[in-house]
Symmetry: C2
Subunit: 366 residues, 2 copies
């Protein structure tokens, strides 16, 4: 633990905290941010918490040209007795490193960065909102900063963490959405970057998403890039189905992102002795289950919404209505349980939550 | 033409020009750059040529998170009589717009931007190097600048052009390279972003490239992402083969970038009545042609190298030696002809080159 390496510079002009229920997702940021740099000589160094501020880069910085970057997304929650909890943050650090491996970005020390994150949240604890369903969204990211147009891995990087207070995803409770099965565009393919959380994957999906919204759907259901046959993800969430009492979710195949919500829900279901299987799932199979009346539920899972029930799937001309367009009981139970664990309302038998300690005041601060 | 919209601010501290043969590709930049901004209200506006300088962005700027960005690469050449020529720049502007369409980025006015580019090169004409094979590399690019973590297209963008004097790609004449046929990683797939010049495609290729260099190869030959059967590109170049007197190159299939060098070479070959065919090519077919002694040449094509002959292809355990590891006669003839057209050494029957006019001094400059 290299606590002594962390420099802290506090802002002299704290911002006014907004009404979190009035702000758009990810558009307001807290007073401070974390930053450290990497060079080949020094490795990761110069870790500091500083006032939230712009970054200055040369126009030739590699991030602008070759997309060498990875990110994470997790949340801090405020409990009823004003503790701050992080949900499985060590999983995000691990996934950040695995994304970095795919993008030829140097590894971080997961424990060390987790410590820095704890310190940052501790400084910003007043920014973690109180209202039910609200949270502080945490965005760690790494960008390539070498100034060169040569197409090869950067020799320098900047790692940052920024924080944004966010409203409840579902102000009126969770609500099933209509989803369009995408056949033209591809999100990811084996051997590509689909299993990494890297910038290029997300803008690559905009065309499909906006075509779907134009047609009145919330999101797209992604099929595999090879045969357009197997179900992969929904929007930028993992996806689960309940067919004839069994929960199934696409197996990790190299093009699906391994969601931490997905992983946690599987563990929850196992602990309840509800059958859950990770395997390949064809869209055809979903249609057949629907036609036989066996398709009971479908839902997306991810940090932002936790659970997003699917009320209707549209595949070509076929409309597949699921559970009369209502949230299913499994989705509801999973949502309630997971959000209660995340916010400390029920006990946490898995040890998933991590309490944010008070700022370590032994650190020299400036 | 909106020449009157261009503001020009010249530097007071011109840099010392380096010996271009001593600098690494894309690491030195000229005195000025072009910049303009986009907002939904104003469209593209505030076009200006200003001293080369860093850009300042919020850490939440979308470019850092979701990779919404496109770029181009082209060159300006100095002729023996000190004219400056651009090679088919209108093709790059068109491709920029087609990449932007894939990335949900607003279109530019191609003619207007070409005018701005002409003005910029005109101001920087002393930076276009003289030595044989040298040129001024031109990098136009667009980045998403909205400060928001919401996963959707940005409402604001910055377009920039930066310029870098570059050495001859082959200081000792063109030299065949050894290429590794990549089977694990995938560059692009139909429905993805392979046909767009966008950042994420390039860093996604680093793992494969570095594995190949570790084994002693220059680059990888990319197969299609679906069946790992059809040849797509080599490194970040298009690829051509000569089999039994016929030139073949993979047809544009939605995952291959449409190279301007590729297009120009096809036109040249047609003008010479050399048979050239765009079609699917399997790696198996190349092996068979090799075994029958019919594989005569192979080469990559792109702006950076123009032609990069392939002396050897390694596929699994098979080494495919091509033309005894020597540059083939078609590659040589294409290289000589195209580079002579680009540098004004022979006439330009296709009207590919565009002379850079003197700076339009009617423009108010500051
Ligand atoms: C592409 C993609 N799939 C799935 C997920 C769900 O992952 P998690 O549950 O860790 O939020 C995310 C991120 O939120 C994602 O970006
Ligand atoms: C992926 C890729 N393929 C092919 C090419 C060749 O295109 P051009 O001939 O226009 O330089 C490039 C760019 O140079 C490229 O980035």
């Amino acid at each position: 633990m290299s606590s002594n390496k962390l420099q802290i510079i506090k802002t002299m002009q704290p911002k006014e905290k907004p009404d979190v229920n009035q702000v758009k997702f990810g558009s307001v940021f807290t007073d401070h941010m974390f930053k450290m740099n990497y060079t080949i000589d020094k490795g990761w160094h110069d870790a500091k918490i500083i006032p939230y501020q712009p970054i200055t880069l040369d126009p030739a910085a590699m991030i602008f040209h070759y997309g060498q970057t990875v990110f994470e997304g997790l949340k801090a929650y405020r409990t009823n007795d004003d503790q701050i909890l992080l949900f499985r943050p060590e999983q995000n650090m691990r996934r950040l490193n695995s994304s970095s491996e795919r993008l030829s970005i140097p590894q971080i020390d997961e424990e060390e960065v987790l410590y820095y994150l704890q310190q940052l949240i501790s400084i910003e604890k007043d920014w973690v909102p109180k209202d039910p369903g609200t949270s502080l969204y945490i965005r760690p990211f790494i960008i390539a900063t070498e100034n060169s147009l040569n197409v090869n891995p950067s020799c320098s990087y900047t790692f940052m963490i920024i924080l944004s207070p966010v409203a409840a995803y579902y102000p009126e409770g969770i609500n099933p959405v209509r989803i369009y099965v995408e056949e033209q565009f591809t999100r990811a393919v084996k051997g590509g970057t689909g299993m990494a959380k890297t910038a290029g994957n997300y803008s690559a999906a905009y065309n499909a998403q906006s075509a779907a919204s134009t047609l009145g759907y919330s999101q797209v259901l992604w099929l595999d890039g090879l045969e357009k046959k197997y179900i992969e993800e929904v929007g930028s969430m993992n996806v689960f189905f309940k067919i004839n009492g069994e929960i199934i979710t696409p197996e990790l195949n190299g093009s699906i992102l391994e969601g931490i919500t997905r992983k946690s829900l599987i563990q929850l279901l196992n602990s309840w002795n509800v059958p859950v299987v990770e395997r390949k799932i064809t869209i055809q199979e979903i249609v057949e289950a629907y036609e036989k009346g066996l398709l009971e539920e479908a839902f997306g899972t991810g940090t932002a919404a936790v659970i997003s029930p699917i009320g209707e799937l549209i595949w070509n001309d076929l409309s597949i209505k699921i559970n009369q367009g209502e949230t299913g009981e499994t989705a509801k139970r999973l949502y309630d349980t997971l959000t209660k664990i995340q916010t400390g309302k029920i006990s946490d038998p898995f040890g998933w939550t991590q309490q944010v300690r008070e700022l370590d005041e032994t650190i020299p601060s400036h």
